[in-house]
């Protein structure tokens, strides 16, 4: 604020100066004054957001990358440089490779399932009228829910003494599957839960995309004898390209970041690491295990993978948008 108050003195008769500066209108302000005005404009409008971003995002990224080359551990000083040792160790660490595998499985399932189901449901709901309006708002509800709420809800339903298991027992099923307690099932249950949570967003994006598909074009194709499938393939699908791009990139990144559901529902288990993801492993290693150096190397790898996914996915999908 003090910068604002000081401005008129330094800015001179610049046209941006407040108050009755009409005398300066039309005349070019002196160079120095202009530079000061620019600097003050930056300080008041640009700087506040940039400084907080710098301090709480960019500096921490640099700190993470730097710590990844050390053996830093507050419980076990002194800290010294270890070069690439953390990265070499990571490649042979089953906790990390397992988490990477789990993360990839969840990401692929969520991306494919939510895209396919989302497009199918959006097609189904792409009509006007009160019924479809109501159904659309139902699909958008989970977007407002915290992943903690979603996780606890599904845990209450899917756990061994949960509502689904007791309902199945009531129907005479002797031994209902342990959706969350069976090491072979738990990861897929988590992927299912995340798919449910993000589905509404996909539906909304696809509905917006479908609204942009021209009805004239569809009718023209119909007149020319194009069947329902070929109308979808040659008219709707190409025009949906931007929606596919948004959803796919969003789902890939969401899948790769998976943390909350693991922390709340499975805590990485059952057994050792059957559902742990990279993000979960990063938090466990740095906060619970105090291995800040090793955890930071893991976090740096995760950041690089996400950056690569974003760049590749955007390039690939945008090319499809251009060519089709």
């Amino acid at each position: 604020m003090s910068a604002t108050l000081a401005r008129p003195a330094g800015a001179g008769p610049s046209k941006a100066g407040p108050g009755p500066s009409k005398t300066g209108r039309g005349t070019r302000p002196p160079r120095g004054g202009r530079r000061v005005t620019k600097a003050l404009h930056f300080l008041t409008f640009g700087a506040p957001g940039m400084i907080v971003y710098l301090l709480l995002v960019l500096v921490p990224i640099a700190m993470t990358v730097r710590a990844g080359f050390t053996n830093r551990n507050p419980a076990n000083p002194p800290t010294h440089w270890v070069g690439l040792r953390n990265y070499r160790d990571l490649l042979h660490d089953p906790a990390f490779t397992g988490a990477l595998r789990n993360t990839l499985i969840v990401t692929v399932i969520v991306t494919v399932a939510a895209n396919v189901l989302g497009l199918f449901i959006a097609q189904l709901l792409d009509r006007s009228g009160w019924l479809y309006n109501a159904l659309r708002s139902v699909f958008f509800t989970p977007v407002v829910l915290s992943s903690v709420v979603v996780s606890v809800m599904w845990q209450a339903i899917l756990s061994d003494d949960g509502l689904l298991a007791s309902a199945l027992r009531g129907l005479g099923v002797e031994d209902p599957p342990g959706w969350l307690s069976d090491p072979d099932l738990a990861l897929y249950s988590v992927a299912f839960i995340i798919t449910w949570q993000v589905l509404g967003f996909c539906v909304v994006v696809y509905l917006a995309g479908l609204a942009a598909v021209s009805t004239e074009l569809l009718e023209a194709a119909e007149m020319d004898g194009a069947g329902r499938l070929s109308r979808f393939r040659h008219v709707t699908w190409p025009m949906l390209a931007p929606a596919v791009t948004i959803n796919t990139v969003m789902l890939l990144i969401t899948g790769f970041k998976t943390y909350d559901q693991i922390q709340v529902i499975t805590n990485g288990g059952p057994g050792s690491g059957t559902t742990s993801t990279i993000a979960f492993e990063v938090v466990q290693t740095t906060f619970t295990g105090n291995h800040i150096g090793y955890g930071s190397a893991m976090a740096t790898l995760m950041l690089m993978i996400i950056a690569a996914i974003s760049v590749v996915a955007l390039r690939f999908l945008q090319r499809r948008e251009v060519t089709q």
Partner: protein, 281 residues
């Protein structure tokens, strides 16, 4: 195959029925939670999908009158953190978005690119150093610390939305105001910011929902000693009464209600805000 116009009868009942069925299956888990908020705990496992008539408010009452005030303290913290964060974020990112959208220099483009990279950075990657930065500022385990972390983390999203919208505002409007002698602050607050209202609504809604629902940041930054937000409160509560579904559901219901009301109040504006910026920008 059969076009809609030639065979209206076969498809006129199929679509509404299929749409209702699919939506019903999707909504079932939420329905289960909702009806069981209004049942006494002992009724839930035997009748999980039954409609509660008459509704029972024992679970809600139990959550509201907990001796440790988990819900009320959490609610106060959540409201405080969310309200301050989104107010500051809206102002700061509107000004920064305007600044970057109107700057033509090469370094402004670079700053924008670096800023937009922040859209994809997972908070888990930077959380540990963020706690160190906050500690060195003396803000660790405080609400201002959490607010500051939120501002840094979400400012790219705000800038992204506002940038797209600022470009739809004719520059002539600002130049005219400047010729009339308005300063940069006057121009921004009296001319630009009112026109950005749809974008502000989207930023408020999205960030409000995200910050209210945030889990890991408040868990770590506020820490156990200084209370929690309602969202973290749910996580704390499930540790205590694992199979007491009634109180857990009631807590989830009460924790979601404020943000749901907020969302519905702003919903009308924000769809306009997002598409407005996207189609004209």
């Amino acid at each position: 195959m059969n076009a809609t116009r030639t065979s209206p009868r076969s498809s006129s009942w199929f679509r509404p029925l299929a749409a209702t069925f699919v939506t019903g299956v999707f909504f079932l888990p939420l329905y289960v939670v909702l009806v069981n908020v209004f049942k006494p705990g002992s009724e839930i496992t035997p009748h999980p999908v039954g409609v509660p008539i008459p509704p029972s408010f024992t679970s809600i009452h139990e959550v509201l009158t907990r001796s440790d005030h988990l819900f009320w303290y959490g609610l106060i913290n959540s409201v405080e953190v969310t309200a301050i964060s989104i107010t500051v974020l809206t102002v700061v990112s509107a000004m920064l978005g305007h600044y970057l959208a109107r700057s033509t220099g090469r370094w402004a483009k670079g700053a924008l690119a670096i800023m937009l990279c922040g859209l994809m950075i997972p908070s888990t990657v930077i959380l540990q150093p963020v706690t160190e930065v906050l500690r060195s500022l003396g803000l660790m385990n405080t609400i201002p610390g959490l607010v500051l972390a939120n501002i840094g983390y979400y400012v790219p999203f705000g800038v992204f939305v506002f940038m797209g919208f600022v470009k739809t505002i004719p520059l002539e409007l600002e130049e005219a105001a400047a010729l009339d002698g308005a300063g940069r602050f006057r121009i921004f607050w009296s001319v630009v910011f009112p026109l950005l209202r749809p974008a502000s609504a989207s930023v408020l809604v999205f960030l409000g929902v995200w910050i209210w629902n945030d889990f890991l940041n408040p868990l770590i930054i506020l820490g156990p000693a200084n209370g929690t937000t309602v969202t973290v409160g749910i996580y704390r509560a499930i540790g205590e009464h694992q199979s007491d579904f009634g109180t857990v559901f009631a807590l989830m219901f009460l924790a979601t209600l404020p943000i749901l009301v907020f969302y519905l109040a702003f919903q009308k504006h924000f769809v306009k805000g997002l598409t407005g910026g996207a189609t004209k920008g």
